[in-house]
Amino acid sequence: MNRLVIWYGELAGTRPLTLRGLALIALPLVWIAVMLLAPLGAMALWAFATRGPLGEVQWTWSLENFRRLAGYDRFGWTGAYLAIFGRTMLVSAVTTALTVAISYPLAFFIATRPPVGRYLLLTLVIIPFCTNLVIRTYAWMLLLGNQMPFARLAQSLGLIEPAKALYPSTFALYVGMVSNSLPFAVLPLYTNVEKLDWGIVEASQDLYARPLGTFLHAILPQTLPGLATALILTFIPAMGAFVIPDILGGGKSWLLGNLIQHQFGVSRDFPFGAAVSLVLTLLTLAVFAAARRRDESSILP
C-alpha cells in the first residue's frame, strides 16, 4: 500500500521510500547474515559430526560430542567438563563484578571533570583497548615478573615466597581479565552517568543518606541501562577468553576458551570444538536475554 507521508520534510510515497531504504540496508544485512549466521549454522551442523582417525570430519549424526560435554567420555564419567563450565562462569562473573566495581568510580570521576578533562580521560581510557590483546597480556607477564617491584613488594610482605613471580596465578588472571574489560564497562557507564540527574543524588545526600544508600537508591536505578550494557560487554567476552587464562593463568586450569582452542589446534577434533562453541553460544544468548529483560529500551541510540 503506497501512502503519501511527509518524511524528513519530503513528500514521498511509502513504497519508493521502502525500496530506497531496503537498497541501503540490503547489502550490509546480507553480509552479516551470510558471514555471521551461516557460520553459526555451520558450527551447529559440525557439532553433530565426529572426528575421523586422521583428524578429518565424519558426517555421522551423533550426540557423542554432547555426551562427552556432559562428562561421559570413553573412560567413564568425569567432572572435568562440568568443572570447566563452572570455572568459566565463575571467572566471568568475578571479572564482571570486579570490573564494574572499579568502573563505577572511574565513570563518576570522569563525569565530574570539566569538559576538556573529560575528553582527555576518555581518550586515555580508550587507548589501551586499541592496543592488541596479546600485547597487553604479555605486558602484564613482564610487569608481574619476579624481579619487578610488584613481586618484590609481595615477597617482602610475605604474600608470596621469595624469588617467586606474581604470575601465573589466579591473581594475575584476574588482573589481566579486569584490565582487559575496563574500557568496555567504563564507556557505557560513563554515557549514563553523564546524563545523571544530580538533583536526586543531592536530595538523597541532603536527607542524610549514607554513601552506600545514595548509591543504591539514587544512582543505581538511573544507571541501569548503562550497567546492563556494561555487564553484557564484560561478561560475554570473558566467557570466551583463552589468551589471558593461557598466559597469565598458567595453563593449569582450562576454561571454555582453552578447551575450544585445543580442538582446533592440537587434537584436530573440529566437531567437538564446534559442539563446545555451540554450547558457549547458547550460554551467551541466555546471559544476553537475562540482561536485556532488566532493561527494555533498545541499546541503539
Binding site: 507521508v5 518524511w7 524528513y8 520534510g9 519530503e10 521510500l17 521502502t18 531504504g21 537498497a23 541501503l24 540496508i25 550490509p28 544485512l29 553480509w31 552479516i32 558471514m35 555471521l36 557460520p39 555451520a42 558450527m43 559440525w46 570430519v57 568502573s103 568510580p105 572511574l106 563518576f108 570521576f109 570522569i110 565530574t112 571533570r113 586515555l124 581510557v125 583497548f129 586499541c130 592496543t131 590483546l133 596479546v134 600485547i135 604479555y138 605486558a139 613482564l142 610487569l143 615478573g145 584490565s179 575496563l182 567504563v186 566467557m239 570466551g240 589468551v243 582452542q261 582446533f264 570444538g273 562453541s277 558457549l280 553460544t281 551467551t284 544476553f288 533498545s298 541503539l300 541510540p301
Partner: protein
C-alpha cells in the same frame, strides 16, 4: 563542579588508570633496555628497534596487518554507514526496526571465539564446494568486515540522532531533492561521525587476535599472530620494541579520533 565525591572515587580511578597503563609503560621501558634480559638495566639503547626494522618476518606481518585493517575498514565503513542511514532515515514499522536492531547487535555480543570457530568451519564446508578456496588475507578481510559493520552502524546512527531532523527538513523546504540532500547536507554533517566510526573500525581490526588466529592462512600472518607465536616460542626484546611501536601508533590514531570528534564544525 561542586559534587561531593566520596574520597574512594579518585583513589579507585587512579588505580584503574594505573591498571590500564602500567603494563604498556613497562614494555616501552624494557624495549629501550640494552640488555637482553628485561630486568637488568644495562643502559639506554635503540638496538632492538634497529633489529626490528631489519626483521623481514615482522615487516611482512606489519604489512599484512595494515592491508587487512585498511581494506576491511574501507568496506565496513561504506556498508555500516549505508546500514545506519537505512535504519534510521526510513519509516519502518516498529516490529521491523526492532528486528533490525537486534540483528545489528548480534556481531557485537557474539564471543570472538565462537565467531572465529564458525568462520573456520564455514570455510571448511565451503571448500568442499569450491576447492580453490584458500584461507588468507581475503578471508580475514571478510571476517573483519562482518563484525566491523555493526560497530560502524552504531556510531553513525548515534551521530544521526545528534544531527536530528531539522536541518534536513530545512533543506527540503528549500526544494532540495533527496539525493542532493544526502550528498550536500546529511553526509557533510555526518562526516565526523563517519570518520570516527572508520577509526574505530580500524582499531578494532588492528586489535583483533582471536578471529585472525583462527582464519589466517600461511601467507597472512599478522602482527598479533606473530607476537603470540613469539610468546610460545620465547620472547625476544624485539617484540617489546614492536609492541611499543604499535602502542605509539595507536596513541596517534586515537588522538586523531578525538580531534576529529571535537572538530569545530560540530559545535
Amino acid at each position: 563542579m561542586n559534587r561531593r565525591l566520596h574520597p574512594a572515587v579518585p583513589a579507585v580511578s587512579l588505580t584503574a588508570m594505573g591498571l590500564l597503563y602500567l603494563p604498556l609503560l613497562a614494555v616501552a621501558a624494557v624495549s629501550l633496555n640494552a640488555s637482553r634480559y628485561s630486568v637488568r638495566w644495562a643502559g639506554f639503547s635503540l638496538r632492538w628497534y634497529a633489529r626490528l626494522a631489519a626483521n623481514d618476518l615482522v615487516l611482512e606481518a606489519a604489512r599484512n596487518t595494515l592491508v587487512l585493517a585498511l581494506a576491511s575498514t574501507l568496506i565496513a565503513t561504506l556498508l555500516g554507514t549505508a546500514l545506519a542511514l537505512g535504519l534510521r532515515r526510513f519509516p519502518w514499522p516498529r516490529w521491523f526496526s526492532g528486528l533490525l536492531d537486534s540483528f545489528v547487535y548480534i556481531p557485537v555480543v557474539t564471543p570472538d571465539i565462537v565467531f572465529a570457530v564458525g568462520l573456520l568451519l564455514a570455510f571448511e564446508t565451503a571448500r568442499a564446494a569450491f576447492p580453490g578456496l584458500r584461507l588468507g588475507l581475503g578471508t580475514m578481510i571478510v571476517a573483519h568486515v562482518t563484525f566491523q559493520i555493526s560497530f560502524v552502524a552504531l556510531v553513525v546512527a548515534s551521530r544521526l540522532a545528534t544531527i536530528g531532523r531539522t536541518v534536513e527538513e530545512a533543506a527540503r523546504d528549500l526544494y532540495a531533492g533527496s539525493w542532493y540532500t544526502l550528498r550536500h547536507v546529511t553526509l557533510p554533517l555526518l562526516a565526523p561521525g563517519i570518520v570516527a566510526a572508520a577509526l574505530l573500525a580500524f582499531t578494532l581490526s588492528i586489535d583483533d587476535f582471536v578471529i585472525s588466529f583462527f582464519t589466517s592462512g600461511p601467507t597472512s600472518v599478522t602482527l598479533p599472530i606473530y607476537i603470540y607465536g613469539s610468546l610460545r616460542r620465547g620472547i625476544t626484546p624485539e617484540v617489546h620494541a614492536l609492541s611499543t611501536v604499535i602502542f605509539l601508533v595507536t596513541v596517534l590514531l586515537v588522538v586523531l579520533l578525538q580531534l576529529v570528534l571535537r572538530s569545530p564544525k560540530e559545535e
